[in-house]
Amino acid sequence: MELLRFATAGSVDDGKSTLIGRLLFDSKAIFEDQLEAVEQASLRRGEATNLALLVDGLRAEREQGITIDVAYRYFASPARSFVIADTPGHVQYTRNMVTGASTADVALILIDARNGIVEQSRRHAFLASLLRVPHLVVCVNKMDLVGYDQDVFDAIVAEFRAFAMRLEITDLSFVPVSALVGDNVVHRSASMPWYEGSSLLHHLETVHIASDRNLIDVRFPVQYVIRPRDDSVHDYRGYAGQMAGGVLKPGDEVVVLPSGWPSTVAAIETYDGPVAEAFAPMSVTVRLADDVDVSRGDLICRRHNQPHVGQDVEAMVCWMAEGSLRAGARYAIHHTTRAARAVVKDLAYRLDVNTLHRDESASDLGLNEIGRISLRTTAPLFYDEYRRNRATGSFILIDEATHATVAAGMMLDPSHGG
């Protein structure tokens, strides 16, 4: 069985919580005691059973009737296991959606059929494309309230496709649903015979994710050096880490960055025995044929397929903290298993996530704003363009005084403009 991670974006008004509630309920992932708790809470508030309460976790959220943070939910069908990163649509929407989308295979965007595409829909689509979520599913919800009218659905599809042309979205699908009634969520609806596609759940069960990962560029960031002090294995030296790209095999000729020392993979080991091939996201231990100096933060790759190496990085960043990002500011940077310090050399522009307009006169990025920056780091980083590899193309910036995570970054190809 495979694991599929998807992120949902939208506000309560779009029926997002109801849709998730419906998905969990119809796939029997909601438990009786949870439902009973929700029914009791709804009664106390004088409401009909409100499935959205399943999604609101914290006391402050229930008190204020809002969702503050990303919540993770789990359900399984016979075909796949699912992790939902449920991100709120309003407060701190960008920060939360960027967080949820960073690990997602699929992004699910909700559109209210009565309102059509609104500013928020465009924003969510843009963020999904910025974070390179490989598959985008647009659920046109509340079809029951527009008489299950095919023309309404078709018009939204056409308008969304036209907008999506401006973004880099590789796989785009549309499903007409009614989360409230359950049409096309888990089961195909009899009310929309004109729709020939699959239900949302069926789509999530079958969307092809196997080829989304980078299996070309071997990237093995060394995370931890395993060197037992026990006499029986006293000369053992293994480099532990999680594959970030490509397929690595014993016998492969590799180089270690930053030293550039060549070597050969002697073995790829795990507790359960040696493996013939390692690929993302396997956690393994690599042993090299030569006694070269390797430590945490180094990167093992193929000799003829190396990442960018440098201290100057161009990136899109999402600013996630109070205060603002300005040229000249210094931060700690975490990239793969490497940590360094970085100074912001330049803010090229701030991007309006609604219009995609680039404001080149911008002098700072505030909370939830996105822009393009240049960084200079204290040590070289070994990185790929984010669009080519999400693991070796991403970083976070950390405030050195408060230790807060203040920005998420997606690296660009240093040789290209754009």
Binding site: Y224, V247, T285
Partner: protein, 310 residues
């Protein structure tokens, strides 16, 4: 600079199963902590989640031994089978066990026990005192996000201030698999390597890896009383109240904690495979079914976590 000898693989190849993907994520988390913290410790109660956590931790560092100790916060009200299992496990694995005793906290006047209530909440003080005493900077816990709604929003690396408090509204964003464990002296990070596992994943993994558990996870006959619609096992600390009938029932435990607040469920499941069938069909969450401590209010767990609970 693409290597021309490398061809794209066939679609469908190179896909990890769900359990291997979860295991790999957890191994990555263990190694990240071992590489970047000075004094980690792993909370080990003998409960199934902590047993799985310890098993994955060993895999992460093999063939080297575990590079940190394990700690049990002992309420003094344990099932004897679990303590025996705990001691046997740490001895077999050769890991160092730190026992933080709630009884010692009571004797030292750090906490006071209210008669007739569980010692569950008192564990927080004992835990935080032990973290301070041993200067632990990273504390691995076996909590899962599917257990409870406050946990559903907690980070894998969860920051605790110098009072051990969790501030749910002010959590660090956590993206990709980049974790931020930075902290000042006196502060610490709780780390949850099993965040994305579900109860069913835990059981499938136990079956697949043939992991030993304390015997009370499997069906056995036991004297119980029905209290607040839960089956409580009779023991030194749980005696029948007036009007309560003592029953002998075929039961097992879905969670194992303090004997005074952990209930059994009626079950004939005697093997991991039988438990998987039962868990897959159940319609009640494990905490709802078996934990008296989570029934106080809608926010019982949230409130305890803010104070520094597991």
């Amino acid at each position: 600079m693409t290597d021309t000898t490398t061809r794209p693989p066939l679609p469908g190849a190179y896909q990890l199963s769900q359990l291997r993907a979860l295991e790999s994520e957890s191994v990555h988390i263990f190694r990240e902590v071992a590489a970047t913290f000075e004094r980690p410790v792993l909370l080990f109660s003998g409960g199934k989640d902590s047993v799985v956590m310890l098993h994955v931790a060993r895999k992460a560092f093999w063939p080297a031994p575990l590079p940190f100790a394990v700690m049990h916060v002992d309420t003094g009200h344990n099932f004897p089978e679990v303590i025996e299992f705990r001691d046997r496990t740490v001895e077999e694995l050769g890991v160092r066990l730190v026992v933080a005793s709630v009884q010692a906290s009571i004797d030292a006047g750090r906490v006071s026990e209210r008669p007739g209530t569980s010692r569950n909440r008192l564990q927080t003080t004992t835990l935080l005192d032990a973290i301070a005493e041993h200067r632990f900077d990273a504390v691995f816990g076996g909590a899962r996000r599917d257990e409870e709604k406050a946990r559903a929003k907690e980070r894998v690396f969860s920051f605790r201030d110098e009072f051990g408090q969790w501030d749910p509204k002010n959590q660090r964003p956590e993206l990709w698999s980049l974790y931020n464990g930075r902290h000042q002296p006196g502060e610490h990070i709780r780390v949850f390597p099993l965040s994305n596992w579900t109860e069913l994943d835990i059981w499938r993994y136990i079956a697949e890896e043939d992991i030993a558990l304390p015997p009370l996870y499997y069906a056995h006959r036991r004297q119980v009383v029905r209290r607040d619609n839960m089956l409580m096992a009779l023991c030194e600390w749980v005696q029948p109240n007036e009007g309560e009938e003592v029953l002998e029932a075929l039961v097992r435990y879905r969670t194992v904690g303090d004997a005074t607040c952990t209930a059994a469920v009626e079950s004939a499941a005697a093997t991991p495979e039988a438990v998987i069938v039962e868990v897959a069909a159940t319609r009640i969450t494990e905490r709802g079914a078996t934990r008296a401590d989570d029934r106080f209010s809608e926010a019982a767990m949230e409130d305890r976590k803010k104070e520094g609970y597991f």
